[in-house]
Symmetry: C2
């Protein structure tokens, strides 16, 4: 089984695709750039969604649902927004098919042309702010804290499973506030929620920062982000939270009467994470034998595989396994007992390693005699013989230990891959030979940023929050700079 | 507040719209036929979704996600299917906008025309069976039991909030089986799941039956359904489960090797319920003062309103209320304490009645002295004074009693509105004067069914499962019939 996976050292991109396809996470679809999320991949996303949804609700947000379609004219209302999103969207122009008069199946009915074309939402600021206009009258209606779980479409030219697909699933928070301060506070609160989720559930260390103007969301005043590092040294933006100022309120004329009964434009935020996180999870932790999933979001935490030579042994093991399954379930652990006869234990071992199940328990007749089980960790591949007495408590601890270990490993790698560069030569060499984040001085201009990107394919991933200030010279232009920013090649 | 709702007796359709809009369930959108589901309405749908999702998983199903887009040619593969769905769909023809050279915002870029148009899924049989072709090889891959929660689009000409919208949210199960018997069993199992959910959570009595051929899903061999009755005597199809035979397997060439290593076409089912259920819930139980929600799916089960004359009293009540809230939460009851100063108690009472919160608890300073609270049921409007000792247990029982009462009331109404008719005159008179289901003999032909529909607007809702057989004469043609079927005017 594991032989079918391309090694990371051989072809990292192919390794990733192998994991996604053979790990049962997703499949290609006949629709260009769209994927099918398979049950195991969807279970992973569902688990992530449920944790995030709880976090959003705990911070006062409610879910709602807005239309899939956006009237074309809405996109034009906010000048930067239309530049960012009009170029890559799916356009609905007709609402009916008819039988082909020439007998070639069905054709678009030219009579059923829409007066105004509809865009499949690439993001929902416009349709939502058009709605908020009706919902917000007074300061009493604020803050309005709404989130939506939805599918969105961006007609990307180059797509990759989970990382960049034409259609993807995401959540988008859209909040409205009476003051700029409150809106900024909200945008940063949600950044903290994302960082908490990434680090404590996905075991993914992230750097919290703010984007350079060139990398901002189209229509935002400030874009906050969390940036993670993959095993090939490329960065991945794992979530963004935008302070939108009054841009959308002005574009859609959303005003409220303040306590002094004066009309003011509303302040806005939006923030989102997507199924891209599944890709990040795969790339951050997995190895050449398959997925490595952090226990807190693994769809299946423990698998039990019986090892028997005859039906008598099997019956004995089945009985013991049933008791262990009950014990683990009572401890809140998700567990599967795989006693299928279709495959040998070795094949099962490889299959569950491929799927990244954090803990495997193997039980044979001899083990039962000795009141032990063989327990194998997916992350370190360590095996140990554990007593069946108090097994659930040990497994529970072990799952936490695995969670921590996966995080620590990713963090050690990430920390070792934040490197300062003081000259452009050093910068290029680091990018090509080491990868990771490069902390370098930048003169703060979009021109320099664009030149560096053109010459090296590296972009400014973020200016870290609480970034230390130090005098320096821009690596490209030598002009003065007050702080280093983080560059990287990125997904 | 309640005065703003149109009375049922005055204008039932307007009453329904008033409830949906003023109860905070949904709003119109600027996109024709699409609605915005507001937070309270979405919480209701989320609650329903979570219960159903659990039921699907308990019956062995897994969630997955398939593309929003369906290549146009896929629709034509199954002959009946294309007839049913091609006529009312949103068609994506282009993938880019560009700045209008004449300065009028953005226009569709004619250069970005798709080679093959994409249809926004009206239902996903075609894209899913095209995928199953790759997933199914052998009998070991069966049964394949998959469900998807998704948005779908059907370009309806006449739309109504929740009941019939161009875009709606739903779940669609798509299963593949080795034998016809297993597939029929699955279709009927899911019908039972739907009936269980409707009756035991939504408090909505339903009739389980099978559709006449004319009312079948486009592409199905048999369509099972649950039919509910609204308070205006019109029926509403609340869920369907289809036995698809080998139609889609043949259209997409999905074969498996059976145990004898011979190739056979796979047998299929599909089944779905949608946000339409929210409309059914509203129309089945609510009254002229607002929504009446069954406790098991009410987003908020209990609201506590303090009644105070001064800050001292308020402080006293706040303290007591905090303890009650804790006690109720520990008992698994969702509860909100509304101590906002924005509105008087009377206004709050009307507001929560409008929103259908099953139980309201009012507490004044005198109540605390007497160690009691005033508890009001939303369904019967009864008020009672209950001791604060053991209040949570009493409320828990009360919520169950309310759930049962709402169901019993709907069932009594429904049962009183299944009326036999033996002549066409009687049939027409019943439809016009009483409404509800009419049990009548039918000669079994599509022609007669169509004529009855044209003359009366009534359709055959279903042939109930385990329908008693009796000899009779068709109410329209007088031809012999072996059983009565249920007719009704329907949503």
């Amino acid at each position: 089984m594991s032989k079918e996976i391309t090694a990371r050292s051989e072809d990292y991109a192919q390794w990733y695709n192998d994991l996604v396809l053979k790990g049962g996470l997703a499949d290609y679809s006949p629709v260009r750039g769209c994927m099918v999320i398979k049950p195991y991949g969807f279970a992973l996303w569902e688990g992530m969604r449920d944790v995030l949804d709880r976090m959003f609700k705990d911070t006062g947000h409610q879910n709602a649902y807005f239309p899939l379609f956006i009237p074309k004219s809405f996109l034009s209302r906010e000048a930067d927004h239309v530049e960012g999103f009009a170029k890559e969207c799916a356009v609905v122009t007709h609402y009916r098919l008819k039988n082909d008069p020439d007998g070639g199946g069905v054709v678009v009915d030219p009579e059923a042309k829409l007066e105004e074309e509809l865009i499949i939402r690439p993001t929902s600021e416009t349709i939502i702010w058009n709605t908020y206009k009706d919902w917000i009258r007074s300061y009493r209606d604020l803050p309005l804290l709404i989130n939506q779980w939805a599918n969105v479409v961006r007609w990307e030219m180059r797509t990759r499973l989970f990382l960049r697909t034409a259609e993807f699933l995401w959540q988008e928070g859209h909040t409205a506030h009476a003051t700029a301060e409150e809106a900024v506070e909200e945008a940063r609160r949600m950044l903290e929620v994302y960082a908490d989720f990434a680090e404590n559930y996905m075991a993914l260390p992230v750097i919290k920062g703010v984007k350079s103007p060139a990398e901002r969301f189209a229509g935002a005043v400030d874009t906050y982000c969390i940036e993670a590092l993959m095993q090939d040294g490329k960065a991945l933006q794992a979530g963004t939270s935008h302070f939108l100022g009054q841009n959308f309120a002005k574009a859609f004329d959303v005003q409220f009467s303040n306590k002094e009964n004066q009309l003011e434009y509303v302040w806005a935020t939006s923030w989102g994470v997507s199924t891209r996180l599944v890709g990040a999870l795969v790339m951050a932790h997995s190895d050449d034998d398959g997925l490595v999933l952090p226990p807190r979001i693994a769809p299946l935490q423990v698998v039990i595989v019986p090892i028997y030579k005859n039906e008598e042994q099997k019956a004995l093991i089945n009985e013991k396994a049933a008791a262990i399954v009950q014990e683990l379930k009572r401890a809140g652990i998700t567990v599967k007992y795989d006693d299928s006869d279709n495959a040998r234990p070795g094949w099962k071992f490889a299959e569950y390693e491929m799927k990244g199940v954090p803990v495997r328990i193997a039980i044979g007749a001899r083990d039962i005699e000795n009141n032990v089980a063989e327990v194998a960790r997916r992350d370190t591949r360590e095996k140990m013989s554990l007593s069946l007495d108090g097994l659930a408590a040990r497994i529970k601890d072990l799952l936490e230990e695995i969670q921590q270990h996966i995080y620590n490993k990713a963090k050690a790698y990430r920390d070792a891959h934040i490197t300062p560069a003081d000259t452009f030569e050093e910068f290029e060499k680091l990018l090509d030979e080491k990868g990771g984040f490069i902390a370098a001085h930048w003169d703060g201009t979009a021109e320099t940023e664009a030149q560096i990107k053109e010459r090296t394919k590296a972009t400014i991933r973020c200016i870290p929050l609480n970034n230390p200030q130090e005098a320096g010279a821009c690596i490209l232009t030598g002009k003065p700079s007050t702080q280093r920013v983080l560059f990287a090649r990125a997904y």
